[in-house]
Symmetry: C2
Subunit: 337 residues, 2 copies
DNA sequence: TTTCAAAATGCAAGCGCTTAAATTCGCGTT
DNA sequence: AACGCGAATTTAAGCGCTTGCATTTTGAAA
């Protein structure tokens, strides 16, 4: 009983063949009740667990899906992943997570690493990546779903929302409240279609009112608190200064609020600020953040379901699009009240 | 070229045996330079990646370590994991993450699931779990390290800090500032030695001044924003109300600050609040949170290093203890200034 | 009782890789 | 020229499991 017990040990004790034990483990309904219980007793006796490698080799399945996300340090991914993982676990599938730190090359590496581990499904964030990568996935027959972004006619299965439309709606609201000097702190757009779409959305809204987002009013920074604060300080040093700062996500907005406070200004009286994502953080800020609510958990669950359907080669594998909602809280005020 | 290429394909093209190809992949220095480059060319030609299952079966190693954390939704774990993962990745080890949602039974399940997947190393949070579980791990010879907690004479390898001492120091500081009516919002202590130790630490400090933390001044709630706010509201409804609320982590403290604001009170003038962890959130709160700084990233890295050493059966496998630091920011004021 | 399909089980061939042991090779010594 | 030795390579035996097919058992119908 020293070494790890094998199928053979269990089979021996139960007085059946290894095939039967395997069947008890994988398709219990195909084994008679009596035999089954005998086998189960033997399994319990040895505290037997199947060897993962042996199983993977023989069946060519790992019951593992991989996800590559930019970073776990952003609450939105953490939350979505948590939901994804829970939903997958219900069907006995394990989730392996890798991070790319918003770097496209690193993402490609990580995808390769996961493929090497034999994942039989993949969840990827956004759509922006080399075509060759998509081809590799299709050639290998590894199903995948893209999450967090969606656009009309996206050729791949995805579960997300229209970042551009949501950002446009937010910016429109800002303009409706009378703001004209509008600045934006965006995330890094290279290799990030969500960040890119959000900038486009804001531009759409401004253009519709014959305004523009010129160079000096658009800062692009990593999604980090301090970076957001720095960007805000720079934007606010302009004369005249912007009356509203639209941010690419809540973390940047939190940074902006910090900066505003540190400059002795007040939000929203002197400057309005908006976020994007609606993470918990938005609620604890002072003033509470006006932001775009994104249903991260539901997206995670939906992604799990879609991926499972793809894996099972089911028919209904249409993309899923979620609605976002504008949540008004207090960091955005109308101009000149 | 349709199906997945195997070692044999590569060997055939390179004109060598599969053993040689295997060696090129695993111990390149044992193969002559000329052969090696021929094999490498063949590998590139087929875009070959070894089959994970085959490898695991033959070598009985997976180069995978597992971690079971309570939840990804708490920034401290996310951050620590990120560091852990990066450090492991450098040596080609993959991290698989599972979550227990602070439930001991669920944690045990997840550990079993990871063992079933053949992880050859495990990172676990805290020390509180069934002895039987530790025995299983040792019997199977799976190395593990406990993180986030540390105490003198802990019999297992761990990488953490002294939660009790840190909480004691925080509470002492509160008392030094003149507070006498001190309340605490703690995390759920069942199966959570960190939460338990933090309560003990606060008690230590109070007892040293002949004060006590009675039932009505200690609330135990999940580590969630709303729960923290509710607890704070309840504590503040007492007469006379506490002058300081010590919280089990920053999220609870953020909730407490929200509650204070919603009651029309002011922190720290009416009530002081302290946190624990020092996540980004602490910085954006208003007032910024006085809290205990915990070096999460460094702990993650150290855990990775220790685990790798254990796996390699090296000698130097001593536990690592980190120092914490009290960070004074503004949410804690002296009484009656 | 006999018959026969369906259900239950066993047989055995791999799955793709690693690795101990055996073999071959090249080269400096004697 | 024969020898010995270490380095490079091959041989081949598994690792633990799944699964198509063959075989046996079961139970109902004839």
């Amino acid at each position: 009983m020293r070494a790890r017990p094998t199928l053979e040990d269990v089979a021996g004790l139960a007085g059946v063949s290894t095939a039967t034990v395997s069947r008890v483990l994988n398709e219990p309904e195909r084994v008679s009740a009596e035999t089954r219980s005998r086998v189960e007793a033997a399994v319990a006796h040895f505290d037997y667990t199947p060897h993962f490698g042996g199983r993977a080799l023989a069946s060519n399945r790992t019951n593992t899906v991989g996800a590559v996300i930019p970073t776990m340090e952003n609450a939105i991914f953490a939350r979505g992943l948590q939901a994804l993982q829970e939903a997958l676990a219900e069907t006995g599938v394990t989730l392996v997570v890798a991070t790319s730190n918003y770097d496209p090359e690193r993402e490609a590496q990580q995808i390769r690493a996961l493929l090497g581990r034999g994942v039989d499904g993949l969840v990827l964030i956004g759509e922006a990546r080399d075509l060759a990568l998509y081809e590799t996935l299709e050639r290998r027959g590894v199903p995948f779903v893209l999450v967090w972004s969606w656009r009309p006619d996206c050729p791949w299965p995805c579960v997300g929302f229209d970042n551009r439309a949501a950002a446009r709606a937010m910016a429109q609201r800002v303009l409706d409240l009378g703001h004209r000097r509008v600045a934006m702190i965006a995330g890094v757009t290279r290799g990030n279609d969500r960040a890119t779409a959000r900038v486009k959305g804001v531009r759409d809204a401004l253009t519709a009112r014959s305004l523009r987002l010129d160079e000096s009013n658009l800062m692009e920074t990593p999604y980090q608190l301090e970076a957001g604060a720095d960007a805000a300080r720079r934007l606010l040093s302009a004369t005249p200064r912007p009356t509203a700062i639209v941010c690419g996500n809540d973390v940047l907005a939190a940074g902006a609020l910090m900066a505003i406070r540190s400059l002795g200004l007040n939000a929203p009286d002197d400057v309005s600020v908006t976020g994007f994502d609606d993470i918990d953080l938005a609620l604890v800020l002072d003033p509470p953040l006006t932001t775009v609510h994104v249903p991260h958990r539901r997206m995670g669950e939906a992604a799990a379901r879609l991926l499972l359907r793809l894996r099972a080669r089911e028919d209904d594998t249409a993309s899923v699009v979620f609605e976002t909602a504008l949540v008004e809280r207090g960091s955005l005020a109308s101009l000149g009240t």
